[in-house]
Amino acid sequence: MGRYFAVRIGRAALTIVLVVTFAFVVLRLSGDPALMILGPEAPPEVLAAFRKAWGLDDPIWFQYLDYFGAIAKGELGRSMRDGRPAIELVLERIPATLALTLPAFAFKVALGIPAGIYAALHRGSGIDRAVMMTAVAGFTVPSFVLALLLVLVFAVQLGWLPSGGQDSWRHAILPIVTLSLGGAAVLARFTRSAMLEVLGQPYIRTASAKGVPWRKVVTSHALPNAAIPTVTILGFMVGTLIAGAVVVESVFSWPGVGRLLVVAVANRDLAVVQCILLLVAMTMVTSNLIVDFLYGFLDPRLRAKGAHA
């Protein structure tokens, strides 16, 4: 049991280092922050002074070591645009993003999981087909298309809701709906197939043959088994709470972490982008770890296997 988690924590740390390294290298190879921030008309000596000030002249391996040294001291760098610490810029945007992603997550779970279970239990029925068709539509339509469609209907045509901004709770409705629908669709499909898989297992027949009423066969025999694959997708969704709204925030001009990321990448504001990526990698990895813990909790077979894995 202890080893099961030790191995996973080790892997998690490695994943974070790899993500940060990759982001570091790609960002530095894909454009010059000095040019992006000061503009192409800036005099060469100004550009040179900017590069020197931010250490962009140093060899990349030196910058890399420097960066990790700073992280070890808890320094995540400063924004090249306004000189403020990157972490401050990012942290002040997080509440705005969570104001969208947390309610959206709740809706995904509340809609997707019951719909999937219901569809599986009534396989082949009209409702099953309706749920599946909605689900397929829900995750094949990209979120920016859905967002624009919702804006067109509810903001432009009907005028019920604002099309963008962050002035009141009414501004949050369309972004939250956009985020929820796609996720609920994915969850519904996933839950349905997990349930169908479990319902076909011999132990379900055993439970019925014992005289367990069907309702209890579903709740105490099928659901605990179907929860195992479903938790995977839930963990993935928790991992996207912080940076999963990039597109939606952009469409609805919602000043969250996603919009900050878009602006920072466009400006090659290295410290800010790296700070966001580090944060995203950490939430992803943490949620994966939680999923692994939950697996061990939900599936006694994994607890045993983990001892040798």
Partner: protein, 327 residues
């Protein structure tokens, strides 16, 4: 005497394809009946249908009476009381027949809570007693273990304990030893027969292993392509099979004593359920088939006090067999 359970003209079709085509079967209290036949002949489907355990795409018709009371199409609550309480079932692959995420205690006590009037502490004590009874050592501690922590033979013992939890009158053992090693097989069969005698329980032993059936059953029914083709006391069936298919099955067994001989295989394969021949389903593979065999499917008809055969050539087949023996 009313039989414990009697099945009349039981038919099952999956999505319009008939797999069970009119099965008649009766079982007395305490009797052990063997059900043999190739895979797909309808042995398991008969009992899953009788207990309403088939998926919804199965169309079931006919009659199943338990103590004279019709149970086919009975309300769910009544079926739930019968399943496990009057008729219990154990299955072929013990490893997947227990819920992997629940402890043995949860699964055993669930059966006890459903069918026995026991309260808190006594439930657990009874669960321990049942594990002891089926020969799981250190029962108190093992109750808290999960199915994957047991061997295949042990899991089948636990399945048997679970089946006994409701004090059933009938145990359907569906290929209970097929997935187990030969030595474990013998232990499980012995356990089943001991318990059956102690509890006076009737048993249906579904198997494609004729040896297993011969040793453990009073009476045997042979199934072919969704019908019973011959029914006889075990010793008579093995000594003197009448239906050509039963003869083929027994001819394919090596004799333990006596001279070595070439084993006879039944030529051909079981017909596809979607395209059954008009007459006798065995006719295309039968050495004795004649024109009348292709016309109508023969019904199970008595040929002696407690024997029945579904074959229009039963007499000829019997003579052919005697002739073979005389050679």
């Amino acid at each position: 005497m009313t039989p414990l359970i009697s099945i009349r003209d039981l038919s099952v079709a999956f999505n319009g394809v008939p797999v069970l085509r009119g099965v008649d079967l009766a079982l007395q209290k305490g009797e052990a009946l063997g059900l043999v036949g190739e895979s797909g002949s309808g042995k398991s489907v008969t009992w899953l249908a009788a207990l309403g355990l088939l998926p919804r795409n199965a169309r079931v018709s006919g009659s199943v009476r338990l103590d004279g009371r019709e149970i086919l199409g009975a309300p769910a609550a009544e079926l739930d009381r019968i399943r496990g309480g009057r008729v219990a079932m154990i299955f072929q692959d013990p490893a997947s027949a227990l819920n992997p995420v629940l402890t043995i205690r949860r699964q055993l006590c669930e059966s006890l809570a459903l069918h026995r009037d026991l309260s808190g502490g006594t439930v657990k004590a009874e669960a321990r007693r049942l594990l002891d009874l089926v020969g799981i050592p250190d029962a108190a501690r093992r109750l808290e273990a999960y199915p994957h922590e047991f061997s295949g033979g042990q899991v089948q013992r636990i399945m048997i304990a679970m089946a006994l939890a409701g004090n059933p009158d009938l145990l359907i053992a569906d290929e209970p030893t097929t997935a187990l090693d030969a030595t474990i097989q013998a232990q499980i069969l012995e356990l089943l027969s001991t318990i059956r005698h102690e509890m006076g329980m009737a048993m249906v032993l579904i198997s494609h292993d004729l040896g297993v059936v011969a040793e453990n059953c009073d009476r045997v029914a042979v199934m072919y392509a969704g019908r019973i083709v011959e029914e006889a006391p075990a010793n008579q069936l093995f000594a003197d099979p009448v239906h050509p298919y039963a003869q083929g099955l027994i001819g394919a067994l090596p004799p333990l004593d006596g001279p070595r001989r070439r084993l006879t295989a039944i030529p051909g394969t079981v017909p596809d359920p979607a395209s059954m021949p008009d007459g006798c389903a065995f006719a295309p593979r039968c050495a004795l088939a004649e024109a009348p065999c292709g016309r109508a499917a023969p019904t199970l008809a008595p040929i002696a006090a407690d024997r029945a055969v579904a074959c229009v050539r039963a007499e000829a087949s019997r003579r052919a067999l005697l002739g073979m023996a005389a050679e």
